[in-house]
């Protein structure tokens, strides 16, 4: 018997639903309330707190609440982008969970009328999650490679807190012409509602309400029983639907567009009606099915992938259906837009559900926000490193899973399709060239969960700062942010407080750095038993690059260059990768950003960029200055390139080499431009110092207060590249297939 409890509603929510209708809801109506009032669809716990992120008027074209945020790049382009998570499905069924995560966010961007031009992934696993990681990586590649959207970067990180709660966050970025956009809320009464794409099956029913909106009781206990709630990805159909939707949109006949994601048709129709202030009436008999005997409940709640909705005036229906048919995608007229504001479902002529659409969307119950927090909530303890630096520990840090090369993963993704990738994976961010106009796009994602382990406010602020620094280090001017927030159960008061602090940190950082948050995604219940993830904010930043073709040369060092450190090293090693190498799994508190100094560093870096000075720039993050410089060296094609630097002699060697203090960037500049660099630093109020020079030694050399240390390139390379990438080619010789 279907009732409030079987669809994931509390008894109180059940009573509220019955009151709204003035009667006992039908089985299908219970299903609709359960799905749309789920945490996943309604954001009932988070909505009032997310209001803190609302951008100032005029800074965005489309903001929070749309399928994706939209910012203006220049007179030629608008950029639609969003981060979305697919954590629970990926834990239950790694391959299809991750694949459908990619497909879902691509459809969100398409629903804004934008052509998807890039993907990035942010992945978190527990230690010893090789099987899970393999499935997720394979799933991302399976979908992204085939649909033809390049995966131009991302990040991969590990922590005990993610064991049993892996995170799979995907960013999709799309571009559209100004004025060419569309949204879900622009239907008019009388329009026909057309369902495009895959036939509807029984897959993914209750994905939103049961899978994504609660915690797992124990590791692996439920992954078997919930597997049918995971959807199956089909990138071939996904590509056909994507191309067809964008092609028919160009015809100018469509009134509204909406993708089908969590809660399938129910959610898509409710959003269309709720946002548009109209009603919708659909006939489930007209929904093409993959299986016999599906009930209206199953049809409305199926999460079958590769489907989208559009609305079109009745007079243009035939033309649009013909065009879709020529493009070889299935399209069915399933109902009509009405003026009554209700979501109505008919089966065999009879009304089987009729609910005021607004009560399913904006009318969903909401949790009150706590008072807005300002500033770090816990004063960091300074973890003072003691003891003398040993030469080998630097190689240990460089080879740590947080720092070592991720090439073995990103080589499995197509980063070049669409032939606009100037800078792809392996840099601080990606640079894309666009077909029209002078400007390119810069994209970066950062989700330093470790920095949230003790103080979510600081973690949220640092995530924004890192993403903005990375865009700037690639030569870009940041223009927008999207946030993917991943936490445990909001029913746990500590988690809920962490969530509020995380959002407050992001809001303060966005305000301090003057970059608008355009929207994002909240994933709660990343918790198994009492173990929840670190409050993890995956921040995507997009920026404008004034000269993308020139970015190809960025990163190439020559022996006539000097190295500078912008920003200030700090003495603590708390929350660093070096700290993780102690092996107790406790990172310790991170340092909150000093906004005045952070702004000065960004200002100086931007002005160096404007002057065309940096030949290379790389932020100081995981593994500290040592890893930053090692990566810069290892990126050089010329094996003779060396770096000779003198670190801050006021700090112990360990602190100088491995601190991860906020807002530090290494830049390489032609030596004879020292005067220009110092002038820009001084006028920006940016602390900074000359670190040393590029040499022809083929080695990385550090002068510290504890002595001079030299690391030949080959030694660094051996530490940085995981074993599977250093296998000799002989293993791949493949002589066995000769006839």
């Amino acid at each position: 018997m279907i009732g409030p409890d079987t669809v994931g509603l509390t008894p109180e929510e059940g009573r509220h639903a019955a009151q709204l209708l003035g009667r006992v809801p039908t089985a299908l109506e219970w299903g609709l309330f359960g799905a749309l009032w789920s945490e996943h669809c309604s954001y009932k716990s988070s909505k009032n707190i997310l209001a803190w992120l609302k951008p100032p008027p005029g800074q965005v074209v489309g903001g929070p609440g749309d399928n994706a945020g939209v910012v203006r790049l220049n007179a030629h382009w608008e950029v639609a982008f969003k981060v979305e998570s697919h954590n629970h499905p990926s834990y239950v069924e790694p391959f299809h969970g991750a694949a459908t995560g990619v497909g879902g966010i691509i459809r969100d961007v398409v629903a804004m009328g934008a052509y998807p031009v890039a993907l990035m992934d942010s992945l978190r696993f527990g230690p010893d999650s090789a099987r899970l990681q393999e499935g997720v990586v394979r799933g991302i590649g399976f979908y992204g490679n085939a649909i033809g959207v390049p995966t131009v970067g991302g990040e991969l990180s590990y922590g005990q807190a993610y064991r049993g709660n892996p995170l799979v966050n995907v960013l999709c970025v799309g571009v559209r012409k100004p004025g060419a956009g569309i949204s879900a809320g622009t239907s008019r009464p009388g329009d026909r509602i057309v369902l495009v794409g895959a036939d509807t099956g029984r897959d993914g029913i209750h994905g939103a309400s049961l899978l994504a909106s609660r915690s797992f009781a124990a590791p692996d206990a439920e992954t078997g029983t919930l597997r049918p709630a995971v959807q199956v990805g089909d990138p071939f159909t996904g590509r056909m639907v994507m191309e067809a939707m964008l092609a028919v949109l160009q015809g100018g006949k469509l009134h509204a567009m909406q993708d089908l994601g969590a809660a399938g048709l129910s959610s898509a129709l409710a959003e269309m009606a709720g946002q548009g202030g109209v009603g919708v009436e659909v006939d489930v008999d007209r929904v093409p099915r993959r299986e016999m005997g599906m009930t209206p409940y199953e049809v409305m709640l199926s999460e079958t992938q590769e489907r989208m909705l559009l609305t079109v005036p009745p007079g243009d229906l035939a033309e649009v259906l013909t065009q879709l048919s020529q493009l070889e995608v299935r399209a069915s007229d399933i109902g009509t837009v009405t003026a009554d504001g209700r979501l109505s479902v008919r089966e065999a002529g009879a009304v089987v559900a009729s609910i005021p659409a607004g009560s399913l969307t904006d009318g969903a119950p909401r949790r009150a926000a706590p008072e807005r927090m300002v500033g770090p909530i816990r004063v960091p303890e300074r973890y003072a490193p003691s003891g003398v630096f040993r030469r080998e520990e630097a190689l240990f840090v460089l080879g740590h899973p947080e720092c070592r090369s991720k090439a073995s993963v990103y080589h499995r993704y197509d980063s070049m399709v669409q032939t606009h990738t100037v800078k792809g994976p392996g840099d601080d961010g990606a640079v894309l060239r666009l077909d029209e106009g002078p400007d390119g796009l810069v994209i970066a994602v950062d989700g330093p969960g470790r920095l949230s382990a003790c103080d979510a406010y600081t973690g949220g602020a640092r995530a924004v700062l890192e993403a903005v620094v990375n865009v700037t280090a690639m030569g870009g001017i940041p223009i927008g942010l999207s946030d993917g927030l991943n936490l445990g159960s909001p029913d746990d008061e500590d988690v809920f407080r962490d969530f509020a602090a995380l959002v407050a940190g992001i809001a303060d950082a966005a305000h301090a750095l003057q970059v608008p948050v355009t929207g994002g995604n909240v994933s709660f219940y990343n918790q198994t038993g009492s173990d929840s993830v670190w409050p993890t904010a995956v921040i995507a930043a997009v920026g404008r690059h004034p000269n993308p073709e020139a970015a190809i040369a960025r990163g190439t060092l020559e022996a006539s260059m000097a190295l500078y450190l912008l920003g200030e090293a700090e003495s603590t090693l708390s929350a660093t990768v070096w700290r993780l190498t102690l092996g107790d799994g406790l990172p310790g508190p991170a340092t909150a950003p000093d906004w005045t100094r952070s702004r000065a560093v960004l200002e100086a870096l931007s002005r160096l960029n404007e002057a065309g000075l940096p030949a290379a720039a790389h932020d100081v993050a995981d593994g500290g200055l040592f890893v930053t410089l090692a990566e810069m060296l290892l990126a050089q094609a010329d094996p003779a390139t060396g770096l000779d630097v003198t670190v801050d002699s006021d700090l112990p060697a360990r602190a100088a080499l491995f601190n991860e203090g906020p807002a530090q960037v290494v830049v390489a500049v032609p030596d004879h431009r020292e005067g220009d660099v110092l002038r820009i630093l001084a006028s920006s109020g940016c602390p900074g110092r000359r670190l040393g020079a590029v040499t022809g030694s083929g080695a990385l050399t550090f002068e510290t207060c504890e002595g001079r240390f030299t690391y030949p390139r080959e030694e660094l390379r051996a530490a940085w590249l995981p074993p599977e990438l250093t296998e000799p080619d002989a293993v791949l010789a493949g002589k066995g297939d000769a006839p």
Partner: protein, 224 residues
């Protein structure tokens, strides 16, 4: 010269190929897989991607598309066809080239830059033996396996092979004898796994692919 670029359902390098051709003095026209004409083109490119999703076997379904009959007629009439990546797989599936492309020995999709070298000169085209190109690969099924019934050296030749930066044989995926590309002995049908269209501008990382396409469309190999 007029070059047709075929779009199969699931092709995803068709537009990239058209864009690369726009940098050459040729006319390029898109063709849909249901078309049975090539718009008067004397050469045709089967681009990369995942035609029909490649769920059966890469290229297997596309080989039976209506347009493939027209491609065959074009070749018989003296025209040229170039299959890139998935297009190469379609050429072997349709029998226009011998052999097959199997899963890489890494059992993984691989996206990276490789060096390839011309092993055999082809009639009517100015590829020089020993000429090298730096091009990206992006495939999961790129390991060339010869057909014992139709070994290379008769009606088809090992046209391109993988090399390392110093020109020594190198094998990224376990291909038989480092084969990266195969051509019919008359040079009319060429298939290769690397993507020339992805190396068609300095800002993409190189222009060797543009040089490759220039030679294939009848020009010479002098760098732009």
């Amino acid at each position: 010269m007029k070059v047709a670029v075929v779009t199969f359902p699931g092709s995803n390098c068709d537009r990239d190929t058209l864009r690369a051709l726009s940098r050459l003095p040729v006319e390029a026209v898109p063709v849909w897989h249901r078309d049975t004409h090539l718009g008067g083109a004397s050469a045709v490119i089967l681009p990369g991607g995942f035609a029909y999703g490649d769920y059966l076997r890469a290229g297997a379904l596309a080989a039976h598309s209506p347009v493939m009959g027209t491609v065959r007629e074009l070749v018989n009439a003296g025209g040229r066809v170039l299959g890139i990546c998935n297009g190469f797989q379609i050429l072997t599936e349709s029998g226009l080239l011998p052999g097959a492309l199997a899963m890489n020995v890494s059992r993984r999709f691989q996206c990276e830059w490789v060096q390839v070298q011309v092993q055999e000169c082809l009639p009517g085209l100015r590829f020089a033996a020993g000429e090298r190109f730096s091009l990206p690969i992006a495939n999961g099924e790129g390991r060339y396996i010869p057909d014992p019934q139709r070994p290379l050296g008769r009606d088809a030749v090992a046209f391109l092979s993988y090399r390392d930066g110093a020109g020594r044989p190198h094998n990224p995926n376990g291909s038989w004898r480092e084969v990266a590309g195969v051509a019919s002995a008359d040079g009319r049908v060429i298939g290769l796994m690397p993507h020339p269209e992805r190396a068609s501008a300095a800002w993409l990382g190189g222009e060797d692919g543009l040089r490759f396409l220039r030679v294939w469309t009848g020009g010479d190999g002098v760098p732009a």
